[in-house]
């Protein structure tokens, strides 16, 4: 029993003494969170917050995952963690059918998105237009781009410190709510304002 303890202590000391690369999984605020670390000798999955592996070089397989304490994460990474940029923000505004007219509730949402741009500058803004699946995709791409360009013009009027602003029309691609073709779905007639 005593011998075992000494051995494990030795192993720990050796480990601490070596220069290793370490990969630690952090909390991303979502339930789905994992990384796979691999090299030519093997691979390991990290799927719990604070789990880490160490790698000595590419001819030795990654170590088995271990747990890193919050104190150690903070000691090793506090400076990098303190400089992590704010998360990107998405706002979604909705339109009346076949038009570039915003719904009443969405006018308020647009105002909120302009406030968010102000606190995020300098930033990049993507304005991504979508339609529902009524009508041909060809026309819908045009309609979605028209919606995006309209929102772009309203944001540009504010003259904010935006590094790049890009309006795109996705038409029926990448829908918010998946529907069959020719479905009148109000939630799909939207423009996403993606502030990053």
């Amino acid at each position: 029993m005593k011998l075992k303890y000494i051995l494990s202590l030795l192993v720990t000391l050796l480990f601490v003494g070596c220069a290793h690369t370490r990969v630690v999984l952090l909390d991303n605020g979502k339930t789905h969170n994992a990384v796979i670390v691999s090299n030519e000798k093997g691979s390991q999955k990290l799927d719990g917050i604070g789990k880490y592996i160490s790698l000595k070089n590419k001819t030795i397989a990654p170590s088995k995952p271990q747990q890193m304490s919050e104190e150690e994460i903070s000691r090793r990474f506090s400076k990098v963690l303190s400089i992590v940029p704010k998360k990107a923000i998405s706002h979604i505004v909705y339109f009346e059918p076949h038009s570039t007219k915003l719904t009443e509730a969405s006018k308020e949402e647009l105002r909120k998105s302009i406030e968010d741009i102000k606190i995020s500058t300098p930033c990049m803004v993507d304005i991504i237009g979508h339609t529902d699946t009524v009508g041909s995709n060809e026309i819908n791409i045009k309609v979605s781009l028209k919606r995006a360009k309209y929102i772009e013009s309203l944001i540009k009027k504010e003259q904010l410190n935006i590094v790049s602003i890009l309006a795109k029309g996705y038409g029926e691609e990448d829908l918010l709510v998946a529907t069959p073709d020719n479905t009148d779905e109000a939630k799909n007639r939207n423009v996403e304002i993606f502030i990053k």
Binding site: L25, M124, D126, D174, K196
Partner: protein
């Protein structure tokens, strides 16, 4: 000949278009781009091929096109081999390389759309993501 020139211009604008910007920074951080070394500041654009180098007591936070962020600690070297996230064409290819130092990676839209398209290289291997935030220290 004229067509050729336009094609070259188009190609270069595709190759050298912005893939992200500097959002946060402290101290001195430089980028090696083609053969030039440029000092970065908050709001600077970053491109494919950029090699980012942070000095002593310096740090930087980068936000990419899809909202992915990579933050670097002091004395780090980080290469943007490729960053492409285009949901309309379903084209996803993210290839990053931490040569030295410390980094925190937090995935943006790609974490949901195509996490398997992300390669985060380290000298001893490669990190693949499944919708993720992680920290890495390369000694």
């Amino acid at each position: 000949m004229k067509k050729m020139m336009i094609l070259i211009l188009l190609m270069s604008s595709l190759l050298f278009s912005s893939v992200g910007i500097v959002k946060t920074m402290s101290g001195k951080v430089e980028v090696k781009r083609v053969k030039k070394v440029i000092s970065l500041k908050i709001g600077s654009s970053l491109q494919n091929g950029d090699i980012i180098m942070s000095k002593t007591k310096s740090a930087i936070g980068i936000t990419f096109d899809d909202g992915t962020s990579v933050s670097l600690g002091e004395k780090s070297i980080f290469v943007i081999n490729k960053f492409k996230v285009d949901p309309s064409k379903k084209e996803y290819d993210v290839d990053l390389d931490l040569k030295k130092g410390k980094a925190v990676f937090s995935s943006g839209k790609i974490g949901k759309l195509s996490p398997k398209s992300v390669k985060f290289r380290i000298p001893e291997g490669i990190i693949g993501i499944r919708g993720t935030k992680f920290a890495v220290e390369v000694k």
